[in-house]
Amino acid sequence: MKHLILLLIAALLLAGCWNYREIDNLAIALGLAVDKGEGDSYIVTVEIINLEGAGPESEFKPTTVQAQSDTIFGAIRRLITVTGKKLYWAHAKVVIISEEIAREGILPILDFVQRDAEIRSDVWLLVSKEETAAEILASTPLVESSISQQLSQILQHHAPEPKSIPEELWNFMQKLTAPGIAPVIATVGLVEQGEEKLTRIKGVAFFRRDKMVGWLDGKESLALSYLLNESISGLIVLRYEESGLTAQITYEVVGNKTEFQPFIKDDQITMGIVTNLQVILAEVANQKVDFSQPSVRSKLESDLAEHLEELMKRTIIKLQQYNSDAVGLGSVLRRRDPEAWKLVADDWPAVFGSLQTDIRVKPVIRASALVSKPIEMRD
């Protein structure tokens, strides 16, 4: 007991409350956008929550503040002179990087974000497709109360319509440090709808080390997602043509699994890639296509396979042009054949650039939603 009293007294005497900070003295930052300023400087735009009114009736409105400095940290410190409150980063949702900076290398930004214990590593990374990254933060949030939250929502629920590959910071860092895989970052652009500008996430920017080297569009990034074994679905629309019968058919992917097998022959590495897809027929525009017949279904399956194989091939070739192994074929090789990997590890990007791939897609039409046959219309 006496120790307890001693402890209490000690606690009270020494009570400096160093880290004690009232919640209302913090400016909660939700999003960060980094642009290139004149010379070597950075322009930092931060979306913060601004409270209006007091007590039970107060409301929060998002607003953006901007500052410029030679370093990101300096710019963020400078923001205090604008907000009057210390910025609080633990709830930041997105970090948006302008293309210019991404091409120069994003390590300075990552360094700041990693080093500052406050920013959490599950913040989303985005590359802006617009002129500046700040524009994105200035657009209109549609559902959520702030644009950063809106973006975070979109990225989180991207699986049914995977037009991009959202990466959280830690994921990016992991790919950056792991051998034999290059990171990608989702890209964000703006679309106009009436007077409002809305954000739209489509495609990815792929990297070599920390430098962005190119873009993939929505379709290509879908192919990349399947190659990366992301658990997503995704729609594929194809035109069906058979004995004069044409129809637009929408396949919905409900399961995907890609397997890799490296073959080595005469010091030439060939990567065998097999993607198993489970699809359902989501929409069949022409009622005459009788998908209950095996022959029709196998035709549908081979169409789909052909289409996807071509798409994946295109994607990989595009990546190979820039020597950016975003598929992680290097890490596959490292796992599957450590000895072969040791030989090429030091020179992997170049080896990847000339790597042979053998891509097979094996789609299986599992079900046709709720109907087993096309709807037969009668007069």
Binding site: H3, A15, I23, L51, G55, P56, H91
Partner: protein, 489 residues
Amino acid sequence: MKLSKSIEKNLEIFQQKIFHDDDVIRYRRFTLGNTQIKCGIIFIDSMIDKDYLGENVISPLTRCKSESIHLREIYPSIENIIAVESLRISKGLEQMIEGILYGDALLLIDGTDLGMILSVKGWEYRSISEPTSESVVRGSREGFTESIIINISLLRRKIQDSRLKFKMQELGRRTKTKIAICYIEDLVSPQILQEVFERINKIDIDGILESGYIEELIKDSPLSPFKTVGHTERPDILAGKILEGRVGILCDGTPFVLTVPFIFMEGFQSNEDYYRNWALASLDRMLRYVGFFITTSTPAIYLSLITYHQEMIPTPLLLSISAAREGIPFPTIFELIVLGLVFEILREGGVRLPSPIGQALSIVGAIVLGDAAVTANFVSAPMIIVIALTGISSFVIPQFLGVVILIRLAFVLFASVLGLYGFVFAVIGLFIHLMSIRSFGIPYMTELSSYKLEDVKDTVIRAPWWWMQRRPKLITKKNRPKRKRIEGK
């Protein structure tokens, strides 16, 4: 001082020397039958049963025949005449005075220096009624009264076993309070019993008005706010504890009976647990542990979350708390302590007031004050929720009602300097304290820090009776089976 052989002188002694100036002492003089022997009875008005005294003592004595009385052995010869169930012949003046003060009547007869103490006690008792401090939905409705004799009878009726023993003692130099130490001979651990006697014999105080005096004088770690002596006003609880091998201490003048040893988890048990379906009772018991956690920790956790670890709050919640706090002039810690204080004042005020006023008070306090404070922007709404939650949860563990306030305060102070880390420190400290105290040689946290299935059966859960075969291990060392094992069950 000694009595003489003359009754007049003896009465004089009582009237002038011992009880002088005391107007409630009655002196009744009469002659013994037709023998002309003078007699006197001394008693205290209102402490004896007057009808009983008249019918069974005075009337037979005045009507008796002289041949039935031997002058030489006058007391033994009238023993058959007096129809009182308990009497004793006494020589010592002290004993006589004590008897009179305890509600007996003293019969003095001319020609002897002896007195006869007749048990004719007959004061007013409060009738046996339902205990208000421990009410139950299911279970016996009788509670202890202020009379130790009645209390003993209540307990005897529950346990009709010749091995149930009562050891009577008197405590308090002036009050001469009767206490009874009761236990079941073959269940109690001799060390505990010996310890109880030793500690009780050490007590030296002039007045014992309630068992609380004894409690504080015999308890272990006297500085600790945790109680290490249990109390109850229900005979069924006492019987249950005694059947587990504990020792009960009954005290005259109070319905509250002490039980030792008292260990931590008893604070989470209720007698009703044993009368109800075991599954529901277990659920309730877990609720009590949760309640204990909530009532001690919520304010500290809330404080550390919103002043140290804002990153742990989900964003939407953070935003709404932030909005609620906007414009509040006081720091959170201040807000917390003041509101907590207000709640305790409301509670204390409610307890001491007659119930209709108490209700009005709580309505005014809870609704009007709380609502007004929020609208006036004095306190934030989440804080009101926290305080209300804390306060309400404290009522599920009535045994620890006082101590949780202290724990809560300590937790809040630690949390205010180091956030959740400080809170964890405080929890560690609390458990060091809990682990280090003992109650009559039994570690306070006995069964809560054990992994044996057998010990868990009556702690976190209340196992069904057919499964609980043994009494608590540390309290009873011998005769442990509670029930015989029934084959096939």
